[in-house]
């Protein structure tokens, strides 16, 4: 690995100044589980590495029942799944962070980093989009907020400009009778990259028998995570039933435009979208019915 300079600022302003001054030759270090590998293997290069874990704003992790979830960009997967309240309110996010690498990875990797790495196969981005999460960005020209579904632009690329930094993610309160789930398909049971993934969010009516609102987000089947709009819309007003989940799965396949690679064929990935959509919808509805996400 080519050597670089390292800095661990304790203030956001200092970090932005350093990032802005170095431009595209600067890399941000949160958990390091992607960037260190990429630097080692020469997929990315850096003259300056800015470690953001000492900036208070980037490590804040705040949640009170019924409020929005505030997730500093450096908050680790482990911090998230270790918090039972967050797990109850945002189960799809918890599903995702529990399966990113093994424990050794989860104790370092952050959801913010997962987003900024902008891999099409990132597990946590689909749930963030399903929850309508917002990305709060700071840069030399001030702050801006962008919905997560507009964050990624291509594999490994996103809207962050040189000098900009993801500061926090906020996940709005989800309202009553919502449920959600994320699943991916991998050939092993752990330590793998998603061949395909689906995050489903639903709101049911008071009876728990009909879907009032839904959002299905797919990973690893397009250059960026994609919302299966048609399937999500179609579900509105439909009964909670395996047949409807399966139909939604069929519709969701249309949103997929996958590639063939060593992790799976395009045909297989498209098929998996149907399976995972059906399964996550079922799980999400089950969670509403079991009251595991009875957020007010």
């Amino acid at each position: 690995m080519i050597d670089f300079e390292y800095t661990a600022p304790t203030h956001l302003d200092a970090a932005i100044k350093q990032l802005a001054a170095t431009g595209e030759k600067a890399q941000v270090l949160a958990g390091g589980t992607d960037i260190i590998v990429q630097l080692q293997e020469g997929h990315r290069s850096a003259e300056l590495v800015v470690d953001i874990k000492k900036i208070p704003e980037l490590t804040q992790f705040e949640y009170c029942d019924g409020e929005e979830l505030k997730l500093g960009a450096g908050v680790t997967c482990q911090q998230i799944y270790d918090d039972p309240k967050v797990a109850a309110a945002f189960p799809a996010l918890t599903d995702a962070v529990r399966i990113i690498g093994g424990w050794q990875i989860q104790s370092r990797a952050s959801v913010g980093g997962n987003l900024c790495n902008s891999s099409p196969a990132a597990d946590s981005i689909a749930p963030l989009i399903a929850y309508n999460a917002l990305a709060h960005i700071a840069g030399p020209n001030g702050r801006r907020t962008v919905p997560v579904d507009q964050f990624c632009t291509a594999p490994g690329r996103n809207i962050l400009e040189d000098g900009e930094l993801l500061v926090t993610l906020t996940l709005p309160r989800q309202g009553p009778f919502n449920g959600s789930a994320y699943q991916r398909f991998i050939p092993r049971n752990e330590m793998d990259i998603a061949v395909a993934g689906a995050g489903s969010w639903v709101r049911l009516d008071e009876s728990g028998n009909h879907i009032k609102d839904a959002k299905i987000v797919l990973s690893a089947v397009a250059p960026i995570p994609v919302i299966a709009e048609e399937a999500s819309q179609w579900l509105i007003g439909k009964a909670v039933s395996e047949a409807n989940f399966a139909e939604a799965g069929e519709l969701a396949r249309r949103a997929a435009s996958p590639i063939d690679d060593m992790r799976g064929t395009a045909e297989y990935r498209t098929h998996l979208v149907g399976v995972l959509t059906r399964r996550t919808l079922a799980k999400a509805c089950e969670r509403v019915q079991q009251g595991s996400s009875k957020v007010l």
Binding site: I2, G32, L39, V49, W103, I105, R108, N189
Partner: protein
């Protein structure tokens, strides 16, 4: 240019100089002679280099050594207590839970973290908790059993 780092390793204050590009694994092994921490893949996929960093297990190949400033690190060298093997180490020996032994330090570190968080794990929880560590020799059977035995041993010593 080298950076000066002050850290705590296995309870002792340690200072070292390193380049920013050096991983914690590299510094532990090459600069500090803590070679119990093994390199299997250098990209976070085998767990052989597992150490505890501020109380959590990490792949030390994916930590920059400079990040260890003011951190608390525990390595396999710190697991045995002055002449006494840790129950996990004892159970790995008694249960023949190692063959070539290269993955063993990583497994013991991960298993120790697991038992500290969850003293009585189920087989499923053990297997999930150790999924970040690869072993090619044993087929894992005896490793899982050794962790179960260590949990049992620790339970007995508590009660």
């Amino acid at each position: 240019m080298k950076t000066h780092v002050t850290t705590t390793i296995n309870g002792e204050s340690v200072e070292f100089l390193c380049q920013p590009r050096q991983s914690l694994l590299e510094v532990l092994r090459d600069e500090l002679s803590l070679t119990g921490c093994k390199e299997g893949c250098n990209n976070g996929n085998c767990g052989a280099c597992t150490v505890m960093l501020n109380g959590s297990p990490v792949d030390s190949c994916l930590v920059l050594a400079v990040e260890a400033e003011e951190a608390t690190i525990e390595t396999i060298e710190g697991v045995a207590d002055k002449g006494h093997l840790h129950p996990l180490q004892q159970c790995f020996l008694e249960g023949a839970a190692l063959q070539c032994g290269i993955c063993t330090p990583g497994f013991i570190m991960a298993a120790k973290a697991l038992l500290e968080k969850n003293p009585q794990p189920t087989e499923e929880e053990i297997r999930f908790g150790l999924a970040g560590n690869l072993c090619r020799c044993t087929g894992y059977d005896k490793i899982v059993r050794a962790v179960q035995a260590a949990a049992e041993l620790q339970k007995e010593s508590v009660s």
